[in-house]
Symmetry: C2
Subunit: 304 residues, 2 copies
């Protein structure tokens, strides 16, 4: 998937990944009303809201972007119906040719990680293979070390799937553990070195590994140091837009070919209609498209 | 939940938590055959296998133990049907009066953590409350710091739910990050101090916080140091049995009242029939009961 991601960034000239992280509050009222009327005040109603919302946005933006990143928590809170909406979103994005990064941030001991690897590997039942989750890549947490990563690597190599492992996260309190200093280097540098090493086990053909790193946009200097530290690791960069990261901050996150990162925005794109005075609520997907184009232009201004 | 957990450990005189982590390989063949015949080679068949397996074991062991800990990954790999089996397992264990710890190991930025908090808080849809996941407590990952924990604390206080946060995990490669040395102390000590501090926000009435720590049985000396370091933090201890931890190692994990920890065993109990020559396959739940009683006696030997 990493080679395909790189070629799709090249084709769209856009390193934007759209975070499909709907909340109840950002669903336009005409969709809410329709679904509440049809399904009542139920998780199924919310699931149908999310599906309608996401599909409408994907219909507008799919040809302009390389990838989407649905955050599973937003769906998981609505139980099985919510997760059905997650799966339908993943499937629809894949139909549109997008690289789908499931933002699941799992991480556990080996035997458990082997089960979580089903997200990208699928599962076999008496010889029949089921690809139930369908993500092209997923995010993982490194706190438990290689045990929790290794079971995913076979799927990376054999099914061309990918991983993005947390290194330096975009949130304020990420520093509490990640920035502890060990022999003069922060913990996230150690995470970076582990991710680089693990990445050697599953290299793509374009100089980047199928194992990428999550490196926030909100800690610019650290991000630039990490870019130098991990030259073969693709970065998934959260924190642009609503969390405060700016394109200018990301100039040196790109490699010398203007590649090497994808930049996520969620609320800033999918809820753009709530701040865009030129559109009606019914035009929420148009507002998302405008936000994608603005973000693309913003990022193109700093790519080399 | 922490007070209730403590009183149920007292009532059963047993600090054992049974890990309800079924795998396809440990389902007795007569259950497999029945479900494959009824539902075909499908995720639904596996879900029904897991439900039957878990309920049969719960029917035998529920009165002997304080708590169960289903590992969501084992279910999640089978998609929505698998997660339905997880939910039915949680609900059945709750009907039996057990404290249910969902082993989900989630962790994310604040807005996302607020969604994951739905596991213990439930979710509201237009004023209607749905408790879709029903866990009494869940496990979380500390790599992203307090942002990812805070959204759960309201549910701890208002709905008497609980958390167990990874500090020192039982797996071999947990050392890669957790044992990095920061000013003479390992990273896991810093995690421990954070967990202790966060725990002050939601204390129970028995001297322990509703925020506990995951501390593996497989690193005995470190576990004993952590017991001294976090006197108000209840420990969820994985790694006993199949992973190599022994009761003798846990002697000093208990507090001076013989309380302060619950010890998990998964395979060693639920798959006990595969190693127990005195039972037939149909008696798998009896074998689980024997294993629970043996583990209780083993642990009682080292409680003060």
């Amino acid at each position: 998937m990493i080679d395909r991601l790189i070629s799709q960034i090249e084709a769209t000239q856009n390193p934007t990944v759209v975070g499909l992280d709907p909340t109840y509050a950002m669903i336009p009222s005409f969709i809410k009303e329709e679904m509440l009327e049809t399904y009542g005040k139920t998780p199924k109603a919310v699931a149908e809201m999310f599906i309608r919302f996401n599909k409408s946005i994907l219909d507008e933006v799919a040809t302009l972007i390389p990838s989407v990143k649905p955050q599973i928590a937003m769906y998981e809170q609505y139980g099985l119906e919510g997760l059905r909406a997650y799966m339908e979103t993943v499937a629809y994005a894949k139909e549109k040719g997008l690289v789908v990064i499931g933002d699941i941030k799992r991480g556990d001991i080996a035997s458990t990680a082997a089960a979580y690897a089903g997200h990208i590997a699928g599962v076999k039942i008496e010889g029949e293979h089921f690809d139930l989750w369908q993500e092209d890549a997923v995010t993982l947490n490194p706190y438990m070390g290689f045990d929790g990563i290794e079971p995913f690597i076979a799927a990376c190599n054999e099914q061309d799937r990918g991983l993005f492992i947390l290194v330096k996260t975009s949130n304020p309190s990420g520093v509490e553990i990640q920035d502890l200093m060990v022999n003069g280097l922060p913990v996230y540098d150690y995470s970076a070195d582990l991710v680089s090493k693990w990445g050697e086990l599953t290299m793509g053909t374009e100089g980047y590994s199928r194992i990428g790193a999550v490196v926030g946009a909100t800690y610019k200097e650290q991000g630039i140091e990490l870019r130098k530290r991990m030259p073969h690791t693709f970065f998934l960069v959260p924190g642009y837009g609503a969390q405060g990261g700016k394109a200018e901050d990301l100039k040196d996150y790109f490699d010398k070919n203007g590649s090497g990162i994808i930049v996520n925005s969620s609320r800033g794109i999918i809820a753009a209609y709530q701040k865009d005075k030129e559109v009606t609520e019914k035009e929420f997907a148009i507002a998302a498209k405008k936000a994608v184009l603005a973000m693309r232009d913003d990022l193109q201004g700093v790519m080399r």
